[in-house]
Symmetry: C2
């Protein structure tokens, strides 16, 4: 994965500069929060994917602007992503984000929520400068799909569906779509035709699906590796593939008990469905189930499921043979093998 | 004001249909919340202003679209407005909105926050369809300015500034800009030239300033009239004109005490600045000050301040002599005289 890592490292400075320049254009009262939230690091996967698809598909019809560059387009979905992290942290009352105190602990809940709204607006405003309807439609759809996927996820909490359809729909919305959009933004900026845009979309959607599935496998890794206790999704009653595999493995009667207890949601994450916690899992039970899931190898099996999506992503690169294609192939391998 | 009221009544059905049609295009998981929040009534002032400026300035170069109409453009800023109400109600933990239980009590906090984000996205998506950069820039700026104004307002809570500059900057952001934008959207849809757009902007900004100033005067009206206890802004330590006039009227020593107590913010509205409530105003003191503000006629004096902005708004209509201009003049009178 040397080339991917090198590409990411080489582009960081340009991406950071584009983010800084967007923040500087924001009204003074929200600038400090935006700066804190946006410039706290992170892998910048979305901008990197935009840049790679731009490089892969660039034509003489590539979009231009008198002052903005493809870097300024590439950071828009990162701004949306960070806006949604700001909103998430407020609601989760999370203490840490990327190793730093969450913004709302520093600036207050309401200013952070509003700064999230302002980041969404700034992203839109910046993209509008390129004067291209396809770009605006792609980024608006990304935002719409992400929010809808997160709402779907909430509705699904505590449920063990018969198959993986609901789970796949949730992760397509909450994670994969914005990655698909990042790739398509690169294709549009490159002046690609519909075929190029379709390849970018398909690549991004499949890579994004795999990215989230691997994330859900990693959730059952040792605390030393992921920096938080294993089994967080189980505690939040998210039926990710490892949890689903575990439920399916149980004998009928045990499964019924599991399903019933799983349906009791922990407070205060889900304020509307207050139930009697004593009917749900104890901390010891959750720990034991987590250990059984790991011992049964379900996280590894989950990675295999991700492999199917990665194969589809890779297939989108079949007809390309350029340095950008090589780096994108390594991005696929990076998602497959990532350990944190 | 008969013509204005008639115009508003006559357009309600078309505006509601356009809102419904936008909601129907949203992903299923957020549709119910969006429907509840958007279709709860309200004056629809923003769409009405878009329609009136469109009617006033319409040229043969008016923007067209194969399926969408000016009604579909007119509801975009209303969608932004309702999104910000959703976010406000979550943070205020407000029980009621337009006489109905707040959406978050019905659907939960997190789904409502996300549905707010989805509404912002849907508004953007719909406006992008018109394929016009000026429209996208205007609506993104509206969102950016609104959020920034609200953050400024939080920073100003508990402070009694020397003059009205900070207050005017806050209300320009949090209220006036989106009304300015509603008028400018009408002008752009009409295919107006820069001069027409400037008149629409100036009219909207001044009307919006007056609208908020009258709102701040109305905050010191009897509970029977405004449906909530008088002096809410004082309790939230917002230095609106009536509060500022009161502070300026106090003898030096009393004023110092007032300023000190005003600086003690009530919990839990302002979570980051927790202070000892015993150093602040008691409920009895707040009630007494509210009564003094009313007795001194400061709400009425505040309305006079609004009058200056309304005169500027009216001046923008000087060269027009059409039915739409007549209705817009009545809109000015409506803001001046409104009692709730």
């Amino acid at each position: 994965m040397k080339e991917f890592t090198q590409f990411v490292a080489g582009e960081q400075e340009h991406i950071t500069k584009a983010l800084q320049s967007a923040v500087e254009k924001m009204p003074q009262s929200v600038r400090e929060i935006a700066d804190y939230a946006l410039l706290s690091g992170g892998k910048r996967l979305r901008p990197v994917l935009t840049l790679l698809w731009y490089g892969l598909l660039k034509t003489p019809q590539a979009l231009t602007h008198k002052t903005l560059t493809v870097y300024d387009a590439s950071v828009v979905l990162e701004m949306f992503h960070v806006a949604s992290l700001l909103h998430d942290d407020v609601l989760d009352n999370a203490d840490l984000r990327r190793g730093k105190p969450s913004a709302h602990l520093k600036f207050g809940i309401r200013p952070c929520l509003l700064a999230g709204d302002a980041l969404l607006a700034m992203g839109n405003r910046q993209m509008a400068e390129f004067n291209n309807t396809a770009l605006m439609t792609v980024i608006s759809d990304a935002l719409l799909k992400t929010a809808a996927g997160e709402v779907e996820e909430i509705a699904l909490a505590g449920k063990i569906p018969a198959d993986s359809r609901e789970y796949l729909s949730v992760i397509e919305g909450k994670t994969a779509w914005i990655i698909r959009s990042a790739c398509e933004v690169g294709a549009i900026m490159a002046g690609a035709d519909e075929n190029g845009r379709r390849l970018a979309r398909d690549f991004g959607l499949n890579l994004g699906m795999a990215f989230q599935i691997v994330d859900d496998a990693l959730d059952f890794s040792a605390e030393e590796i992921i920096g938080k206790p294993a089994g967080g999704d189980l505690r939040e009653r998210k039926c990710t593939p490892p949890v689903h595999m575990y439920a399916q493995s149980l004998p009928a009667e045990e499964k019924d008990t599991f399903v019933q207890k799983f349906a009791v949601l922990p407070d205060p994450v889900f304020e509307i469905q207050k139930q009697h916690a004593e009917n749900g899992f104890s901390d010891e039970e959750l720990k034991a189930i987590t250990e059984q899931i790991i011992a049964a190898g379900y996280p590894q099996k989950t990675r295999e499921l991700a492999g199917e999506y990665l194969a589809k992503a890779e297939a989108c690169l079949r007809s390309f043979d350029s340095p950008c294609a090589a780096v994108l192939r390594e991005a696929v391998a990076y998602v497959q093998n990532r350990n944190k």
